[in-house]
C-alpha cells in the first residue's frame, strides 16, 4: 500500500478561488421601513451534512459512523443544538448565533437532483432548474429580473454583480452582471476603459456591459475592501491563512451589502468540500474548513454592523455524502445534507428536519441520508418572506416547475 503524502486540499480550495456575485441595487424603496440583505454561499464539492450537524439523538448514529460519529461526550464534543442534533465543534460562532435565535439548520435537505455528479448537482442547485444542463442562467439572477420595480428589492436599475474572474452560474443571466475582483495589478486608466467601452459599443455589446459595470463598481467600492488588502497568495496556505482568506472574501461581500447604497443580494462560491479521503470530521480537514467558514460567518456579522438584523445568509451545497464512511476514511457522493441559515433577520434557534432515520432500510438506496425537505422550499420561503418575491414568479421563473414545492413559511421574523 503506498504511503500517501496526502494532498493539500487547502490549496485546492484556494486555487479554485472565491467567486462572488451579488445584485447591486443603488437606491431602494424603503417604504416598508426595512432594507433586507440576502447572501448566498455555495459550498462546492458536496458538504457532509451528517458531519456538520450530527443526529446525536438517533439510536443508529454511532453504529453507522463508528469512530467518526460526532457525539456530545466524545473526545471533541459536538455543540448541542437541541435534544437530537449537535453542531460540529469547529463552529462556535454559528452555535452562538443559533443560541441567540439567529441561525437555523435545515437537515435531510436536497435539491431535486438524484444522481451523484458534482457538476450536474451544482448545475441543478445553481440554475434552480430540475434537469442539469438545461439552463445557462441562475435562480438568483432570474429572481432579480422578476422583482417588480418599486418592490423592496428590485432589479430595476440594478445589476447582478460578480467578483473574481469566473462568474458562478447562480448569478449568470439576463440581469446584467457587474464584475469586480481584488486588484493585484495596477488598473488600466479610466481613459483606456472609456475608449474600450466606446469601441465595444460599436462592435461587441456584451463586452461593453462588462466594462461599464466595472466603472460603476469602482465608484462604490467600500473603504477597507479587498482593493486595499488583496487576497493572500495561492501557495503555501496554512490554517491561519485559510481562515483569513475565508473571512476576507466573505467579509468583503458583507461590507458591500452593508453600504447604504450598495448591493442587497449577493452570492459567492467556496470549494474544497469533496472529502473522499481522510475527511477529518472532528479535528482534521473538514473541521478546519468548517472552522474557517464559521470565522467567515462571524466576519459577516461584524461587517454588517446594524444591518445584521436585516440579513439572511444561506449556505447550500449540491448534495450530501454517503451516510457511512467509505473505504478510505472519507465519504463518497450522496444525497441529502444540511442547509445552514444565519442572520439577524431569522426566526432562529431551530433545527428544521423531518428526520428520515439512519437504519439501513431508511437510507436512500441503503447508502445516503434520505431527503425529506426540498432545498427549494427553504429558498422559496426566504425569497418570499425576506425579499418579497411573489409566489408565481418563484414557481414559474426562479425555480421553474416547482409549483408543488411550497415555500416554508415563518423562517424570518415577522416583516
Amino acid at each position: 500500500m503506498p504511503k500517501l503524502h496526502a494532498p493539500s486540499r487547502r490549496e485546492l480550495l484556494l486555487a479554485s478561488g472565491a467567486l462572488f456575485a451579488w445584485a447591486y441595487l443603488p437606491k431602494l424603496a424603503r417604504a416598508e421601513g426595512r432594507d433586507p440583505r440576502f447572501l448566498t454561499i455555495v459550498l462546492r464539492g458536496a458538504l457532509d451534512g451528517l458531519a456538520t450537524v450530527a443526529p446525536v439523538g438517533d439510536p443508529d448514529w454511532v453504529s453507522l459512523r463508528g469512530d467518526n460519529a460526532l457525539t456530545l461526550d466524545g473526545k471533541t464534543s459536538a455543540l448541542k443544538l437541541d435534544d437530537f442534533f449537535a453542531l460540529n465543534p469547529a463552529m462556535p460562532n454559528l452555535h452562538r448565533m443559533f443560541k441567540a435565535n439567529e441561525a437555523i439548520v435545515v437537515h435531510a435537505a436536497a435539491t431535486p437532483y438524484r444522481e451523484r455528479s458534482h457538476f450536474d448537482g451544482q448545475d441543478v442547485l445553481e440554475s434552480g432548474v430540475e434537469k442539469p444542463g438545461a439552463a445557462y442562467t441562475g435562480w438568483l439572477n432570474r429572481l432579480l429580473m422578476g422583482l417588480a420595480p418599486g418592490d423592496r428589492v428590485s432589479a430595476n436599475g440594478g445589476r447582478a454583480f460578480a467578483v473574481g474572474p469566473v462568474t458562478p452560474l447562480v448569478v449568470r443571466g439576463p440581469a446584467p452582471v457587474l464584475s469586480w475582483a481584488p486588484r493585484r495589478v495596477l488598473p488600466a486608466s479610466d481613459d483606456t476603459i472609456a475608449r474600450l467601452i466606446d469601441l465595444y459599443r460599436h462592435t461587441d455589446v456584451s463586452f461593453a456591459r462588462v466594462l461599464e459595470s466595472r466603472a460603476k463598481l469602482t465608484a462604490i467600492a467600500p473603504a477597507g475592501s479587498m482593493e486595499q488588502t488583496p487576497v493572500g497568495q495561492i501557495a503555501g496556505p496554512d490554517l491561519a491563512q485559510l481562515r483569513a482568506y475565508f473571512s476576507e472574501a466573505v467579509g468583503a461581500a458583507a461590507k458591500f451589502l452593508a453600504q447604504p447604497d450598495g448591493p442587497r443580494v449577493g452570492a459567492l462560491a467556496l470549494g474544497g468540500w469533496d472529502t473522499h479521503y481522510n475527511e477529518g470530521i472532528a479535528t482534521g480537514w473538514l473541521a478546519q474548513l468548517l472552522g474557517a467558514l464559521d470565522g467567515a460567518l462571524a466576519a459577516v456579522q461584524e461587517n454588517m454592523g446594524p444591518a445584521w438584523r436585516e440579513t439572511v445568509v444561506v449556505l447550500v451545497t449540491e448534495f450530501g455524502r454517503t451516510a457511512r464512511i467509505n473505504g478510505t476514511n472519507g465519504t463518497d457522493h450522496g444525497t441529502a445534507t444540511v442547509m445552514l441559515l444565519a442572520g439577524g433577520a431569522l426566526k432562529g434557534g431551530r433545527v428544521i428536519a423531518d428526520w428520515p432515520g439512519l437504519k439501513a432500510e431508511s437510507l436512500l438506496e441503503n447508502r445516503d441520508l434520505k431527503p425529506t425537505t426540498d432545498v427549494r422550499a427553504v429558498l422559496k420561503g426566504l425569497l418570499k418572506d425576506h425579499l418579497r418575491a411573489d409566489d408565481h414568479a418563484l414557481a414559474a421563473d426562479v425555480f421553474p416547475g416547482s409549483d408543488d414545492v411550497k415555500p416554508i413559511a415563518g423562517l424570518v421574523t415577522s416583516a
Binding site: M1, K3, S16, V166, R183, R195, L199, D238, A240, H276
Partner: protein, 484 residues
Amino acid sequence: MTTNPKFEAALALHRFGFGPVAGSIAAIADDPRGALLADLERPGAGRVAAANLPNSGQAARSLFEFRAERLAKEKLAERAKKEAEAKGIVVGAADDNTMKPNGDAQPPNGESAQNQQNQQPQLPALLVQNEAKVRIEAAVAAEIGFVERLVWFWSNHFCVSADKILSMAGAYEREAIRPHVLGRFVDMLTAVESHPAMLFYLDNGVSMGPNSVAGINRDKSLNENLAREILELHTLGARTGYSQDDVTRFANVLTGWTWIAFGVPNRGGEFVFVKRLHEPGEQTVIGKSYPDTGVDQGRAVLADLARHPATARHIAHKLARHFVADEPPLSLVDKLAKSFIDSDGNLKELAKTLIAAEESWTPARTKLKRPSEWITSALRLTGAQWVVGRVTSGQGLLGEPLWRPGGPNGFADYESAWIDGLSQRVDIASNFAGRVADRLDPVALVETGLGPLASAETRNTVARAESRAQALTLLLMAPEFLRR
C-alpha cells in the same frame, strides 16, 4: 464562405492556433487548411524538448526527499531550541507558521511561481516552473500551434491538479497526453487512467476491494472517485445511462491500480498493479461482464468505454465547442462523432475531420479565447520577452491558473464563465503594454495580428490612442483579438 485568402489565414491562426506572429498571415494565405494539416504531419508533433526535465517518478521522489529533509531540519532546530531553553537561554521566536493539519505534506511558503525575482526558487516551485516554461515555449514558438492547442484541449479534458499532485502535474501532460495527441483515444485514455498523477488526483491509490486481501485485513473498501469521473467526464459523459451500480462495479475493477510509494528508491512514484488490493471476481459494467484478469480487467473496460458511441458523441461535442462555438452546429458534431467511430478513435483523423468540415470555418468569430490562450497570442503578436512566473501568475489572476483547475471537469469552455473576467484582462493588458509597447508600432501590429479581421472601429481606436502603450492595450482588448 469568404473568398479572401488572407481572411481565412488569419481566421485559421486565431481559431486553430495561438494567433499570428509577424508575417504568419501571409505565410499561410495560399492554403490555410493545408498549413493546418501540415502541422499534424510535422515530425515529433506534440512532443516538447524536455530532455532535462525529470519524469513523474523522478519528480515525485525528489520532492519526497526534499520534504523529508526539510522536516528533519525543522526537527533539529526544534530540538536545539528546547535544549537551549532548558539551559535558560532565551531564543528569538522562530518565524515558523507551518501548520500541518491532517498530516498533509505542506509546501513551504514562497513555493508559488511568483515573486521569484531575486532568490532561487525551491524545488517544488522549480518543478512546476520548468515544466511550465517548456509548455509556454512550445506555444509561443509554434508556427501555427494547432497541435499544441490540441495538447491543451486534451490536457484540460483529462486534467489533474498541481494543488494535489504538484510534483507530477507537468510531467503528466508530457507522459500521458502528448504521446497520444495524434494517436488513438484508447491509448491516451489508458495512459491517463494508469498514470500515478491521475490515480493520486482522484484518490484511487487508497481504494481497496472489500473482498480483497488488503480490504479484509484492514477492514477498508472502495473509493469510487476515479471510476465515476472516468465515466462522467473522461468517456461517456454525464447522463448517458450508466448507473450508480456501474460506478461501483467499475470502482471494483480499478482497485489495485496504484503507485509505488514515493519514498521507495529508484521506482517510487511509478504505476503498479497490486493484486492484494484488487477486488476478486467478475464484474459487470454497463451490461457487459468482465472476468477477473487482474490489471487487464480495467484495461478491457477502458477499451470498451473508448469505443462507446456516447464517448464519441461526448468528445465530438467538446472538441467542436472548444474550437468553433459555445453552441456548435449539430452537423459538425455529427461529422466528428462519425470520424471518431469510423477511425476507432484515431485522434489525427479527428483533427483532420475538424479542419475539413465547412462548419469549422464559419466567419462568425464568437468564441472568447480563454485567458491562457489570449496571453499566449499577445506574447506571439508582440514578440515580447517573457518570464515564466509572470505568464503563469497572469493566467492565475485571470482565473485559469496553469494545471490548477477547480475540479476534475477542468476549466470551463464557454463564454459566460469568462466574460466578466474581461475587466481583469484589461488591467493585465495595460500592465503588459506598459512594459513592452515602447519598441513596437501598434498600428502595424493591427495588420500583423488581425489583418482583414480588423474592423474599421478597431483600426481607428488603436490609431487614435494617446500613447503606444494605450494603443497596444486597446489592440489586445479589441473584440477581434479576444475572440477566435
